[in-house]
């Protein structure tokens, strides 16, 4: 199994930390992982993205241009990465702020209204975990217990009291994701 993922959105949406929690969970499950962020001018321009690879084998390049899954959280990222999803791959997006819907016909497309749901429940801080939950519902590549360990390793100990809230958000995300197009 090798899953190549791009997560992209605005800075501050928790894109990098979502990738880190996913990667750390993979480490805990004894997978090979890599986490390659955009950094520098891209980040400073307001958009952030991270490529995460989780695999059973030694990972060749952490830098990739074709993805099994794209998790998209704003319009700029949708414009940039829709074409990079492998044929037959998966595109997940949050419809918040999206004016031009994805148009590919050869990929599976799902949406998750995580921004709206998180605001409604007053859990905007763990919005990214709602999105992660949606992804894990479709691709359960890491088990629940390892996500817990991944959270423990990603968060400083003083924030461990927030782990249950993060886990609840993941569960909310699992129920929130809906198919737009399946092939």
């Amino acid at each position: 199994m090798t899953e190549e993922i791009i997560i992209a959105g605005f800075g501050g949406q928790g894109v990098l930390s979502m990738g880190k929690i996913l990667a750390y969970s993979g480490v805990m499950q004894n997978k090979e992982v890599s986490w390659m962020p955009s950094y520098g001018p891209e980040m400073r321009g307001g958009t952030a993205n991270v490529s995460v690879i989780i695999s059973d084998e030694r990972i060749s390049s952490p830098i990739i241009n074709q993805f099994d899954t794209a998790i998209i959280l704003n319009q700029q990222s949708l414009d940039k990465f829709e074409a990079s999803v492998k044929p037959g791959g998966l595109l997940i997006y949050d419809p918040n702020g999206i004016t031009h819907e994805p148009t590919r016909k050869d990929i599976n497309i799902y949406k998750i209204a995580a921004t709206a749901k998180a605001q409604e429940l007053g859990i905007s801080k763990v919005f990214n975990m709602v999105v992660l939950g949606g992804f894990l519902k479709l691709k359960p590549i890491v088990d629940k217990q390892y996500i817990h360990e991944g959270l423990e390793h990603s968060l400083p100990q003083r924030h461990w009291n927030l782990i249950p809230q993060n886990e609840e958000a993941i569960e909310i995300g699992k129920g929130l994701i809906e198919a737009v197009q399946t092939i």
Binding site: K20, A23, Y24, V27, E32, V33, S34, W35, M36, P37, Y39, G40, P41, I59, S60, S61, P62, I63, I64, N65, Q66, H153
Partner: protein, 360 residues
């Protein structure tokens, strides 16, 4: 500090390895994309645990000369920077080589020339292995291709530096520096005691006992006859490194019709391109350089005898390719492919370059 499984950035791995390998001092000046090295050291506060000194200098010129001063006492002293900062250090580096001072320098390369860009690049190959500073000197140069190697090579660098009394350069780039991967940490190697330091570095300036003459650290010798003898000694040292300390990795080279030659992050991209080529039925191998100096000349020549073509992959306009052609004496079709200015080539581009420049 013990053997543990972690997830961290290449830059963090450098910092953690410095602490764990018993480094006595780090002097640096922040520059993207390697600022996490000093950030991590400052956050870890090793001066409270191992006694390691961490100091931000006022410039890279200052930090390399702090390295000179500290390392002249036989202590394990290191610095890190990125391309423009390493350029500022070149005078210090040739002095360190000329005074035969062991030390470790890390370059997390970014695009140039000049201030260039803060994105990854590999265009400091010439600077690293063909001088940079003046005079006939060499830096033992290691090119890590993973976060684990960023960590492990710091330990290896100390061994080589003190074995040969020579500066060691770890030549990385922004991609490996910023990337997070799995890492197994090592048990802490305690910093040398005063007694151990005198054993490992009997040439150091740590106070003259009555029982011996002065230990003098200098790169100045105005008597040309003596300076030539000293140069011959340096050359003999470099020849011994070429004989004994060459490191490289071959993957799928046994049955390969074509090979990629690459180092650092380019070798990872080339590995992916190799897998894609093999899926298409093209027999491609990868010859990965681990030491850039000493260059694996003989070993590459041996592999090259069996292949129809070589594609050098480097994030530069084509620097390493000169040494590849020298190694093979231009007996095999050899071309360069790279992106530069901070652009990272994709595996697809690398495979296309192989098909268009070599196979066609």
């Amino acid at each position: 500090m013990a053997r543990e499984l972690k997830l961290m950035k290449g830059n963090e791995a450098i910092a953690q390895a410095m602490i764990a390998s018993g480094t006595d001092g780090y002097f640096g000046y922040p520059i993207t994309p390697q600022s996490e090295v000093m950030e991590t050291l400052m956050a870890e506060k090793p001066w409270e645990t191992t006694g390691m000194v961490v100091l931000q200098a006022e410039s890279e010129v200052s930090s390399i000369n702090m390295v000179y001063g500290g390392a002249a006492t036989g202590k394990k002293v290191a610095t890190s920077s990125s391309s423009p900062g390493i350029s500022l250090m070149q005078e210090g580096l040739t002095y360190l080589a000329g005074a035969e001072i062991p030390c470790v320098i890390v370059n997390v390369m970014r695009g140039g020339p000049g201030l260039g860009t803060i994105q990854p690049s590999q265009s400091d190959y010439f600077q690293s292995v063909k001088g940079g500073g003046h005079g006939d000197y060499q830096l033992y140069t290691l090119a890590p291709a993973s976060v684990q190697e960023m960590y492990d090579f710091v330990f290896d660098a100390w061994d080589i530096a003190f074995k040969y009394r020579n500066p060691v350069l770890i030549l990385s780039d922004g991609a490996i520096g910023q990337c997070m991967e799995k890492l197994y940490t090592r048990d802490y190697i305690p910093r040398w005691t005063e007694e151990e330091r005198r054993q490992h570095a009997p040439w150091g300036t740590f106070g003259k006992p009555a029982s011996r003459g002065h230990n003098i650290i200098t790169s100045l010798e105005l008597e040309s006859a003596r300076q030539e003898v000293f140069n011959l000694k340096l050359q003999a040292k470099y020849a011994e490194m070429k004989e004994k300390e060459v490191r490289f990795e071959t993957i799928n080279c046994e049955d390969a019709d074509y090979i990629f030659v690459a180092y650092g992050s380019s070798s990872r991209i080339a590995m992916k391109a190799m897998q894609m080529a093999r899926e298409k039925g093209i027999k491609v191998g990868l010859f990965r350089l681990i030491t850039l100096f000493p260059f694996p000349t003989k070993q590459l020549a041996e592999v090259a005898k069996r292949v129809k073509g070589i594609l050098c992959v480097e994030m530069s306009a084509g620097q390493m390719i000169e040494d590849v052609r020298l190694a093979t004496e231009c007996n095999v079709k050899t071309e360069h492919f790279g992106r530069f200015g901070g652009i990272i080539p994709t595996p697809t581009e690398v495979l296309e370059a192989l098909e268009n420049k070599i196979i066609k």
